[in-house]
């Protein structure tokens, strides 16, 4: 991607986005996790790992690790916020769109980050 496009993209990052980047929620490993998912974006090498602690069909705790461009980090952070306290069933219904809405949108060239996050969520849930 040309740098000028990066600039254009950076121009469109929302306040919510910047807040999550500056203060990621639920970062790190989860010691007592009973579900883990990890996915890698083959295009840019970005990687997201999600730890869940699921009790009685409810996500009691969620944490994440991420490597890659800011949208990937931010999607990890927002995702954990969105699923914490929800039932696994609810979490399964979560879509890319929900994630995008929560972080105030992403430029089209960065939307794959949201897709990666949803895939990782699905993988984690599948591992329960």
């Amino acid at each position: 991607m040309p740098l000028w496009l990066l600039t254009l993209i950076a121009l469109t990052y929302s306040e919510a986005f910047k807040d999550h980047l500056a203060n990621p929620r639920n970062a790190g490993e989860l010691a007592n996790a009973n579900a883990v998912g990890e996915e890698t974006n083959p295009v840019c090498g970005d990687r997201l790992r999600l730890y869940l602690q699921v009790k009685a069909g409810r996500i009691e705790a969620a944490r994440f690790l991420a490597y890659g461009c800011p949208p990937t980090l931010v999607c990890g952070s927002i995702l954990t916020e969105l699923i914490k306290g929800r039932s696994v069933e609810e979490a399964t219904r979560l879509t890319r769109k929900d994630l995008l809405a929560a972080l105030g949108g992403l430029p089209s060239r960065k939307q794959h980050a949201a897709a990666l996050a949803i895939e990782t969520l699905r993988a984690a849930i599948a591992s329960v």
């Binding site: 040309p2 740098l3 990052y13 790190g28 490597y67 800011p70």
Partner: protein
């Protein structure tokens, strides 16, 4: 975004215009606004100003005024130099030598020539980011027309052995060889280290105004007397037939004023930049682990530091710093791909992770000690925060633990 404090550490991308330079340029917008090709008073006034500026730019690099061609920037200077010389020679020879760490403009121009049938040799820069003159010798062919090796790299600041390469070219000429020219892109070096075209021994040298506290939109090419090149922007007699188009008088005047200041204040500025840069690097070494400094630290421009932060990725670090008011860059600000790792850092033999995690900090004359302190306060926190997110971090730790266990 932290609006209270802004620290600009991206002077290799562009510099703020010096207020003295703005002042010098200002009359040329509204009062002395003539077209330098006009015969009347207004034109003469503009022409005289352009010629004064030409002498100043020439003086910065030890050239003669009539060897300076004014252009729109460093990219155009590289285009005119490389394409101009190659087109002039394309009847007989079609080989050119360049390096793997050139600016994206030189890279792009050479790629284009490659597509139209030129053979391009790209010399390695090794782990230190420095080209070896001996490699130039080995690469020379009977049909080599041009050697284009930059004076100082824009991402890591390493200074290339231009004088040694020029000595080779002189040797070849002494053996009766003609039509072998030597171009160097001095866009990053000019104003930061002393340059003299006769000491350097190059035939063509590119400059860009906006890297030395003049405005964007002006540049120059030094063309040594006797070098034949084909004009790229055609259809006018300006700049001694080498570059058509109405001269951008205010930008040229500003370039001249900035060149004069750069010459007069170079020692002072580079000492200042280097003091801040060295203080910064010492602080980073002290406070942040797992960093790799890119480029030969003993043979660098004084204002620039390029550091790979392991386990994390450049864009995230850059934007996180930006949110704290700190402006830096990843790769070259004018570089092309960027989610691809920087080709320059890759050329040093670094792996993808280190290349993606490379950040350039470039200091300038208006930076202060406080700026450095602020960055040294913010940067470790930001790096730590991002590393806390990174799975690579854990894996490395895990591997080390395993290694540690294995050693017992």
């Amino acid at each position: 975004m932290n609006d209270s404090r802004k620290v600009y550490l991206d002077h290799s991308a562009t510099t703020p215009v010096d207020p003295r330079v703005v002042a010098a340029m200002l009359p040329y917008f509204t009062q002395k606004f003539g077209n330098a090709s006009s015969v009347h008073f207004f034109g003469q006034e503009a022409r005289a100003a352009v010629d004064r500026a030409r002498r100043e730019v020439a003086a910065l690099i030890g050239a003669r005024a009539n060897e300076i061609v004014f252009l729109s920037g460093g990219t155009e200077a590289n285009n005119l130099a490389i394409r101009g010389v190659c087109e002039a020679a394309s009847g007989h020879s079609r080989h050119l030598i360049t390096s793997t760490i050139e600016h994206s403009s030189v890279r792009g121009i050479c790629e284009g020539l490659g597509k139209s049938g030129w053979e391009i040799t790209r010399l390695p820069a090794y782990e230190e980011g420095v080209v070896q003159a001996e490699d130039v010798r080995a690469a020379l062919r009977p049909n080599t027309v041009l050697i284009s090796v930059m004076l100082a790299n824009n991402e890591i600041g390493t200074i290339q052995p231009i004088e040694e390469i020029a000595a080779l070219v002189r040797e070849e000429r002494a053996r009766g060889r003609r039509q072998l020219w030597f171009h160097t892109d001095a866009v990053q070096a000019a104003g930061r280290i002393p340059l003299h075209v006769d000491t350097l021994g190059c035939d063509l040298l590119s400059l860009s105004a906006h890297k030395l506290y003049a405005p964007k939109g002006a540049g120059a090419l030094f063309v040594r007397r006797g070098v034949r090149l084909v004009s790229q922007n055609v259809g006018g007699h300006q700049e001694r037939e080498k570059r058509a188009g109405t001269e951008g008088v205010p930008g040229i005047v500003a370039f001249g004023a900035a060149a004069k200041l750069a010459r007069e204040e170079m020692a002072e500025r580079s000492q200042h930049d280097q003091r801040l840069r060295d203080r910064f690097e010492a602080g980073v070494t002290e406070r942040i682990g797992n960093v790799v400094f890119n480029g030969d630290r003993g043979r660098r421009l004084p204002h620039l530091s390029n550091i790979s932060f392991r386990f994390i990725e450049g864009e995230g670090l850059l934007i996180s710093l930006d949110l704290q008011g700190i402006a830096v860059s990843t790769g070259s600000a004018c570089s092309s791909g960027t989610l691809e790792p920087s080709p320059v850092i890759r050329a040093l033999g670094r792996n993808d992770e280190l290349a993606r995690g490379a950040i350039r900090f470039s200091f300038g004359k208006d930076n202060t000690e406080q700026d450095v302190e602020y960055v040294l306060e913010v940067l470790p926190r930001v790096v730590e925060k991002l590393r806390a997110l990174s799975p690579l971090n854990r894996e490395e730790m895990g591997r080390r633990d395993l290694e540690a266990i294995g050693q017992n």
